[in-house]
Amino acid sequence: MSAYLARRLVRSVVTLWLVASIVFVAFRLAGDPLNVLLPDSTDPITRAFYIEKWGFDKPLVEQYLRYFYNLAQGNLGQSYVSGRDVTAIIAEALPNTLLLGLTALAGSVLLGVGAGVVAALFRGTVIDRGVMLASVLAFSVPDYVLGVALIFVFAVQWMVLPSSGSATWAHMILPLVTIASSGAARIARFARSAMLDALNAPYLRTARAKGLREGRVVLRHALRNALIPIVTVLGFQLGFVLGGAAVVETVFAWPGIGRLFVLSTAARDLPVVQALTLLIAAGVIAANLAVDLAYGWLDPRISLSGGRA
């Protein structure tokens, strides 16, 4: 592994550690968590029981170390609300989010890259304008507005699709469209400009001067180069999907971690919130690391020079 990737790996770990520490500090800053968690009328014995149970009686340093020890063990504590293991709660919800999110991600990448590349190839024509207009529109309609509008049209007016829940595959359609559309819009804009850069690059003229067919010029030379910047946006995209899941899953009552997050926030179920925050941060950091790996693989200039030129 190159020095570059090693450095990125270290940086990712440090970032994750920082996120975890900030969460820890923030939790203590918020004051005595028991005041938040237990009704004011709780009797001292019960209070003491919970202090002991959640470890709030220990010195801060010990709590901090214990916190990381538990994290490393995958022991995320119990929900304040239901008392169940946070791990179990998340394990129930996560697959639903992954199913929805990854499908949407794949869809938006295919659609976005396709539309962006086509727009770049037909730059300045009706096709280009159409794609760009559609992308500006899709980009400007927030998930919650789009979700509500889709429910209104397809579930209320036409009654062809279910509005909420996760019982059948048909339940997936509206949330999928909602998540994928803004992602595709963002990717399309980015892919278009990356592709335009590549199409205007001097090396493309060189490829044409060799007498290569236009198809090969576009795919092998232009698209291959355009993919390098495009992968960066994919790293962001996972973050958007995970962040957006809170809204979309709430709109469609999809039982994933996003909805769990919102419900837990409303109930101030801190162990669950904490676990979800760390999980999502880890997901985004891992995605960015994967993007860096893809970068090194796509761009030969990286691995040797140890960084972007």
């Binding site: 927030p142 919650y144 429910i151 995970l242 997050f261």
Partner: protein, 280 residues
């Protein structure tokens, strides 16, 4: 390459500008234009449809909600709240981010490393996740909300300001100005701000759109602006439950949000093309 002057804004940007101006104006004049106080309920006329639908009347041009409150008045008011929070939040993050970025670029070393690590941390958390976590920990009071919204987007400004300071360090005229003992702050005002201004303006539109989206999303989820105060997102969230009988309650604020975001981002795109000499 092309001169900035002599470029007329394209139709889209023009329309966006007009639309945004109209929205800001109606937010400003909202109290004058509103037919009713936004909290006034009328239990005799709940869920009344907009004027142009069957059963609607011009008493309530956009209809009423489940408590008989006038939708139009509430939209004026919501727009006001949404825009105020949007601008304040964006201003806070611009000030915060630029300051941190400048300090980082100026002091280098550990301070710089620390600020850049925070930028990394921020970038690793989708902002809504950060906001939800903060609200869960600190409770969803108004000040917490404002702080969260004010933090949103700071890292963009920090990167920008830091990069600018670093690039200026090596400019001859800055070295010269330092040598004659020009004060730091004057130096920045003279050289840094002009260089950074256009990028800042573009960043401002991006952050403004992001801030409006964030506030609306939180309010939509019931975790942002709390009743009786209202915002566009909150109206949408409440109206969602009445999609079946009274879709206008949700659709009207939804349409306003879309118009707002659309015009901000179209204007932002145009500004970017206009101000960025390197973009084609």
């Amino acid at each position: 390459m092309t001169a900035l002057i002599a470029r007329r804004p394209p139709l889209g940007a023009l329309l966006a500008g007009l639309c945004l101006a109209a929205l800001v104006l109606s937010a400003l004049l909202g109290p004058l234009l509103s037919p009713y106080p936004y909290t006034q309920t009328d239990l005799m006329r709940t869920l009344a449809p907009p004027a142009w639908m069957d059963g609607g009347s011009w008493d309530h041009p956009l209809g009423t909600d489940q408590l008989g409150r006038d939708s139009l008045s509430r939209i004026f008011y919501s727009l006001r709240i949404t825009l105020i929070i949007g601008f304040i939040g964006t201003a806070i993050s611009a000030a915060l981010g630029s300051l941190l970025g400048m300090i980082a670029g100026e002091l280098r070393g550990w301070v710089d490393a620390g600020v850049m690590m925070m930028v990394d941390v921020q970038a690793s958390l989708p902002f809504l996740v950060f906001a939800l976590t903060a609200l869960a920990i600190f409770g969803n009071g108004f000040w917490v909300l404002l702080a969260v919204i004010g933090i949103n987007g700071w890292e963009g400004y920090a990167r920008l300001a830091r990069g600018m300071v670093l690039s200026l360090m090596h400019e001859d005229y800055v070295t010269a100005a330092r040598a004659v003992g020009t004060r730091r702050w004057r130096l920045y005002r003279r050289y840094l701000l002009p260089g950074i201004r256009s990028a800042m303006i573009v960043q401002f539109t991006v952050t403004l759109a992001g801030t409006v989206l964030l506030e609306s999303a939180l309010s939509f989820l019931g975790l942002g602006i709390q009743p009786p105060v209202t915002s566009l997102g909150q109206m949408l969230g409440e109206g969602r439950d009445y999609l079946l009988f009274a879709p206008w309650i949700a659709l009207a604020p939804g349409a306003v949000i879309v118009l707002l975001i659309l015009s901000i981002s179209l204007l932002g795109d145009w500004l970017r093309d206009l101000l960025d000499p390197f973009e084609t």
